[in-house]
């Protein structure tokens, strides 16, 4: 809180002490965090991840089943 006096024209224009204006404006308190909306891609990533796993499992099972069938005949 730099307190030294600023230049002013008359006594009426003399700035109030910084501790007082900060107290008045609530600047001596912790300021609440400003929440900003960000683009949420988690659902898309989740779908892609789930789809990839399903495709991989189906592919592996298909190969496994086809190989078993071939060996039977």
């Amino acid at each position: 809180m730099g307190q030294d006096t600023l230049e002013y024209r008359s006594l009426d224009d003399r700035p109030l002490p910084r501790w007082l204006t900060d107290q008045r404006d609530g600047l001596n308190q912790y300021q609440p965090e400003i929440l900003e909306m960000k683009e949420d891609k988690s659902l898309t990533l989740s779908f892609i991840g789930t789809g990839a796993v399903i495709i991989l499992v189906v592919a592996v099972l298909t190969v496994y089943v086809l190989r078993n069938r071939k060996s039977r005949y």
Binding site: D4, D12, L16, R18, W19, Q23
Partner: protein, 262 residues
């Protein structure tokens, strides 16, 4: 209970206390007053009489927030003393006699004892000596303090700008900001903690709204924003600030939780 659980419990207790300590109490308990420097500037070798006088000064100010130094300076005509606070020259003195009672005075003793007794703040009203200017503002101060829920822990003291007994104290107050010496208007200083004087309200700035903001500042929970950048100027005073009585404001806040603000 495991040792680590106990540690966590104690640590959280300490943290919760730290966050609810009020500004005035935290500063009194934890913030050391900044030191002044009294310098004796001289060109020629110091004669025996002056040496003894300087030793006497050293003893007088020994337990105050001040250091004494002697510096040789070739560009001066005659020796003098200079009182410096945080690289700002507060006053100069031509002789040892002018330094009498530099670090003690009756009003400073009274104010310090009030701060040590757990008062929230001493509102020090520096009068101009002109009743037409002084009386209206004094009425506002007294009325606002009387209407405040914290009136029991606030003290109002008056000081005449021309007081000879308190000339050093007045000089320090008028150095709290660089332009105060040129302003012949009544001023209200909030004095708290280890004799820290806030930048004053003056002239029309001495209003009920601003006085209440001063009280709010001192009764707010002590945030790091305040701790890291504490306003005000420490006044030179000889005192032992150890073991002050508990802050009386806490009792008022306990009885009136609606007054709590953060």
């Amino acid at each position: 209970m495991k040792a680590c659980h106990l540690r966590i419990l104690i640590l959280s207790g300490i943290l919760s206390m730290a966050c609810t300590t009020k500004v005035s109490e935290w500063v009194l308990l934890n913030s050391e007053a900044n030191n002044y420097i009294l310098v004796y500037y001289h060109k020629d070798p110091v004669v025996e009489v002056v040496k003894r006088q300087n030793e006497e000064i050293g003893r007088e100010i020994g337990s105050a927030n001040i250091q004494f130094r002697t510096i040789v300076r070739k560009d001066i005509e005659k020796p003098y003393y200079a009182l410096i606070y945080r690289n700002r020259l507060f006053s100069t003195y031509n002789s040892y006699a002018e330094l009498k009672n530099l670090s003690v005075s009756p009003l400073r003793e009274k104010i310090a004892s009030e701060l040590m007794s757990g008062m929230l703040c001493v509102m020090l009203y520096l009068k101009t000596g002109d009743p037409e200017k002084d009386e209206p503002a004094l009425e506002i101060i007294k009325g606002t303090v009387a209407a405040s829920p914290y009136r029991e822990v606030l003290s109002v003291r008056e000081l005449d700008r021309n007081s000879t007994d308190e000339k050093h104290f007045v000089s320090m107050l008028l150095n709290v900001e660089s332009d105060l010496k040129e302003i012949n208007e009544p001023m209200l200083f909030g004095v708290f903690a280890r004799f820290k004087a806030l930048e004053p309200l003056l002239a029309k700035g001495i209003s009920a709204e601003n006085i209440n903001l001063m009280i709010d500042f001192l009764t707010a929970d002590c945030s790091c924003l305040i701790k890291d950048n504490l306003p005000g100027t420490d006044i030179l005073f000889t005192n032992n600030w150890e073991n002050p009585l508990p802050a009386l404001v806490n009792r008022i806040l306990d009885e009136n939780p609606a007054l709590l603000h953060h």
